[in-house]
């Protein structure tokens, strides 16, 4: 990469000594491309939004006196003649992890300037993301057909529905936006848009940051909403 413009060229100390130097020298603090720094800061703000949703969910779940619906039963699917707990949710989890892997490889291939492979890995990531959203839509329809609503459900505390639709809906929206983002960047990579640009293929890494974040949020939703 050609990011020599980002710092004075002096040898940078690692660790806490480097931390002090980065902040006290008369230079740009974060030695990363601006797009990457801004994506990290955006993700930090998104972390707070998702945290507020999850903390809100925790609060209503603690404070309700009604029984909380058991997620392993609510999200069970019949397979092989038996109800398997959280079956679809487990499949969705594995799909998202698979897509994180293809994304990580796409970033690596981008820096190796392998346009063809970067493109196909990003497309694979987007397809996996789209199938995740499809399964989420299936899950929503199933719950709605069973009478789950944001204001009540037959299985217990009304807050279950409100938390479920709000949290998974906001996450699903992030995945959908990510699929569009991935496809836009993938097609630009394919037609060589980034070949002669100063940042080169760091855009693939920035897109990857967003995508991994979506997977990261799912890890927390899976643990707190579906398993807890």
């Amino acid at each position: 990469m050609s990011e020599a413009i980002l710092d004075s060229g002096a040898e940078e100390a690692p660790g806490t000594k480097g931390l002090v130097e980065d902040w006290s020298r008369d230079k740009q603090v974060f030695g990363v491309p601006w797009g990457k720094a801004m994506m990290w800061i955006f993700l930090l703000s998104d972390t707070f939004i998702f945290s507020c949703f999850l903390v809100g969910y925790m609060m209503v779940r603690i404070s309700t006196t009604d029984p909380w619906p058991n997620p392993s039963e609510v999200f069970a699917l019949d397979a092989f003649g038996y109800p398997v707990p959280l079956l679809l949710i487990a499949i969705m989890t594995f799909i998202l992890i698979t897509s994180s892997g293809t994304m990580a490889l796409a970033v690596n291939m981008g820096y190796r300037r392998n346009r063809k492979l970067t493109f196909w890995l990003m497309v694979a990531t987007a397809v996996l993301g789209a199938s995740f959203v499809g399964m989420q839509a299936f899950e929503w329809s199933k719950l709605i057909s069973e009478g789950v609503r944001p204001w009540g459900n037959p299985f217990g505390a009304a807050q279950f529905g409100s938390s479920f639709f709000m949290i998974t809906g906001f996450h699903g929206m992030h995945v959908s936006a990510g699929v569009i983002y991935l496809l836009v960047i993938a097609f630009r990579v394919k037609r060589g848009f980034y070949e002669n640009r100063p940042g080169g293929y760091e855009i693939v890494e920035i897109t990857g940051l967003y995508w991994h974040f979506v997977d990261l949020v799912w890890v927390f939703i899976f643990a707190f909403f579906y398993l807890w």
């Binding site: 990469m1 990011e3 940078e12 690692p14 660790g15 806490t16 480097g18 931390l19 980065d22 902040w23 603090v29 030695g31 990363v32 491309p33 720094a37 990290w40 800061i41 972390t47 707070f48 945290s51 903390v55 925790m58 609060m59 209503v60 603690i62 404070s63 309700t64 006196t65 009604d66 029984p67 619906p69 392993s72 039963e73 609510v74 069970a76 989890t93 594995f94 992890i97 994180s100 892997g101 990580a104 690596n108 190796r112 069973e146 037959p154 299985f155 217990g156 505390a157 890494e205 990857g208 940051l209 974040f213 997977d215 990261l216 890890v219 927390f220 899976f222 643990a223 398993l227 807890w228």
Partner: protein
């Protein structure tokens, strides 16, 4: 950013990828334990292991400089304060509901038998 931070060997990604699959399987397996300290401890353990791996390896945070690490990973620590306050508040609200309205009389269906 120096070149060595962007072209690490692919091996570490394959290892991380496999680790995520294994950890997710463990996570899913906690659903077969009864609710209690062990289950909740294991849920958190696997959750933080997965989250840490994603941030450190897949999002390359492990290779970033301390200034960026602290700027991004520091502020979320404040969420712990919110979690602490809201769980206290939640307990209080539940207690006052029980005191004023009594135990729940809600009749619930068991999901999934149709």
């Amino acid at each position: 950013m120096a070149d060595d931070t962007t072209q690490h060997p692919l091996k570490i990604y394959w290892i991380m990828w496999a680790a995520l699959f294994v950890l997710s399987t463990f996570s899913y397996a906690t659903d077969f334990l009864d609710r209690g300290y062990l289950r909740h401890f294991l849920i958190l353990l696997f959750m933080f292991a997965k989250a840490g791996g994603i941030v450190w390896i897949f999002m390359h945070m492990g290779w970033e400089r301390m200034a960026l690490k602290i700027a991004i990973l520091g502020p979320p620590v404040a969420i712990l304060v919110l979690i602490g306050m809201m769980s206290l508040e939640g307990e209080y609200v539940e207690d006052s509901r029980l005191e004023n309205y009594g135990e729940s009389t809600m009749e619930v269906e068991t999901p999934g038998h149709h």
